[in-house]
Amino acid sequence: MEWLQVTSDLIHNTIVFATALIFAALGGLYSERSGVVNIALEGLMTIGAFTAAVVTFYADLMLGGSAWSPWIGFIIAMIVGIIFALPHAVASVSFHANQVVSGVALNFLAIGLGVYLTKIFFDGSAQTKTLETTLSKWNIPFLSDIPFIGKAFFYAYPTSFLAFLLVAISYYVLFKTPFGLRLRSVGEHPQAADTVGINVYRMRYLAVMISGALAAMGGATITLTTTSNFSHNTISGQGFIALAALIFGKWHPVGAMFAALFFGIASAMKSVFQVFCVTDYIPVDFIFIFPYVLTILVLAGIVGRANAPAAIGRPYIKGNR
């Protein structure tokens, strides 16, 4: 029966890891489809993880261990994510700044601000106090009674269900609504979009803000389901893996979801490999490297071809050709 336990663990770990990636990759999707590069995903996740840890801790103190406190943390993290993404929008949309540099600055700011405020809130300690209440798993009635796959797929954290739901919603919004068409057109050919009366600046601002909300939610899921606290290495590279998932998924919500799940498996395989002593043959570090190598191969056109939105990274200046 050992392998059953291992497989079940594998699926569980995959979904938990992939959940955060899906949120952040969807965040990157909105921003990049509108033509704004977002390498600040890492920083946005950091700020989301930090906010969720702090707000949930204090909400828990006030409500006395209510099951709602993680949700309060989750929602506030989302709002703070929107606010934190605003400077990126201001710099790259209104002031035509280099979007990569602005993103690098935001990543620095997030980790600095997160740890600085943690030390202020928690008496100089470099990590937040461990949360008493975190999100608990949900049972989907009936479906979770299906033998084997029921427990693996329909007994999970609510945030995971939300992530998959958001994939469907994002697909609908981006490809089936006027809003989505406008957002994509701004990222492909802003001049043409402007000509037909779409407000390029407003669309890009909205996209970056949505991006902040989603990435911060991704960070929040990590503190609320996995680590239960925030420290300087709670978010260490997930934002960049999410970016990789976005590219590997060819800037499409469903593609990004599969890429995130795939990277999730790659990461979850670690424990399975350890059980079966595969790590004696393949070092753990090579498993870590895997998603990044894959992304480079995809970009190089060796494993399929990824085409970025045409106007990505280029500030739009009205009247310029």
């Binding site: 390498i39 990569v100 600055a105 980790i111 600095g112 600085y116 480079i296």
Partner: protein
């Protein structure tokens, strides 16, 4: 005299200076919100960075890698490339220098230069991967260098664990002394601070940077490709080859920095869970220095002083050291979003007119 006034009011000088001041000012405001005394904090920063010979030596040690990574980012920028990968090239340089330092047994006048060169070459080759993908496959260098950073981090950890590790420690064994860049005399001059010979190599690199880019035909080509690749191609230059050359040189600078850090300061390579961060700070250094040799050195001095001095703020004013990451982030942000700074300058100019 007029010439000097002209230099100080030039935009390329004014924007970094005002960005730095804005960063420090907002930093002070954040400290006030945390009920700390910002004046005391900044004074203890200066005290920590320049207080005695030991501090000055350690500050120079902090500045050294930033000159290397700053030059790396700036060189790529001049050819129109954004090298976010200085971090990874720095790590590969460290790794190569460590391997040479541990595995070979040579007299110092061969061992030390060989370790330095190995570091530079490793960084350069790591940079060329991104250059090649850009030139031949049209892949944007920002994404590839980000991915290469992570690959280098885990690759270096793997090599340390598998081949170089000191039993029971999260690091490699010590490098042979014949490969060290540290100079007994230099360290004693600075009260046993870990200042090392690398600073001279860094300054030499800055001079080479200037000469190559502005005094050679090759440098002219590199800058032409950076200004306008289409025009450069029309003029008969091979854009792809120049892109690869630029990424190689850029990687060499970062790799040398990584080698110098190992050979001069630590003498061993640790297993890292996170990046050392010099590559990312190099972006800030290059930006604030306007991608020039002198500017980059000055930028490195600024950020070196801020980072090393920050440890003093903890003791002097109780402020968490992370405040300096916030200040640095703000400075990068303002330099990037020049428009905001110009707006601030405009405000001051208007006020002056009103007063007159």
């Amino acid at each position: 005299m007029n010439k000097w006034i002209h230099i100080f009011t030039k935009e390329s000088v004014l924007i970094p200076v005002i960005s730095t001041l804005l960063g420090l000012l907002i930093g002070a405001f954040i400290m006030l919100l945390g009920a700390y005394n910002p004046i005391q904090a900044y004074l203890s920063l200066i005290e920590k960075a320049f207080g005695d010979f030991y501090s000055i030596g350690e500050t120079i040690r902090q500045i050294t890698p930033l000159i290397f990574t700053g030059l790396s980012v700036a060189f790529a920028f001049r050819t129109g490339l954004f090298n976010i990968g200085a971090e990874g090239q720095f790590i590969m340089g460290s790794l190569a220098a460590t391997i040479v330092g541990i595995q070979l047994d040579l007299p110092w006048y061969l061992h030390m230069p060989l370790a330095v060169v190995a570091g530079g070459m490793a960084g350069g080759l790591w940079g060329v991967i991104a250059g090649y993908l850009k030139a031949k496959r049209g892949v944007h260098e920002v994404i590839t260098t980000i991915m290469l950073n992570w690959i280098s981090l885990y690759l270096s950890n793997y090599f340390v664990k598998a081949y170089l590790s000191e039993p029971g420690q999260q690091r490699s064994e010590f490098l042979k002394e014949s490969s060290w860049l540290s100079l007994q005399g230099l360290s004693q001059l600075f009260d046993n601070a870990r200042i090392h010979f690398g600073i001279l190599i860094a300054i030499l690199c800055a001079v080479i940077f200037y000469i190559v880019l502005w005094k050679t035909k090759q440098g002219y080509e590199l800058r032409a490709v950076g200004f306008n690749p289409h025009a450069a191609e029309y003029a008969g230059m091979n854009v792809g080859v120049n892109v690869m050359k630029a990424m190689f040189v850029s990687g060499v600078f970062a790799g040398l920095g990584g080698a110098a850090e190992i050979l001069g300061v630590f003498h061993y390579l640790t297993i890292n869970a996170a990046f050392p961060g010099y590559g990312f700070q190099g972006i800030a250094v290059a930006l604030i220095g306007g991608n020039t040799a002198l500017g980059t050195v000055l930028g490195a001095v600024l950020f070196g002083v801020l980072t090393f001095g920050a440890t003093g703020m903890k003791f002097g004013a109780g402020v968490p050291v992370e405040i300096i990451s916030i200040v640095i982030a703000l400075v990068i942000f303002f330099v990037a979003a020049k428009g905001i700074v110009k707006y601030v300058i405009q405000l001051f100019k208007k006020e002056k007119k009103n007063m007159l």
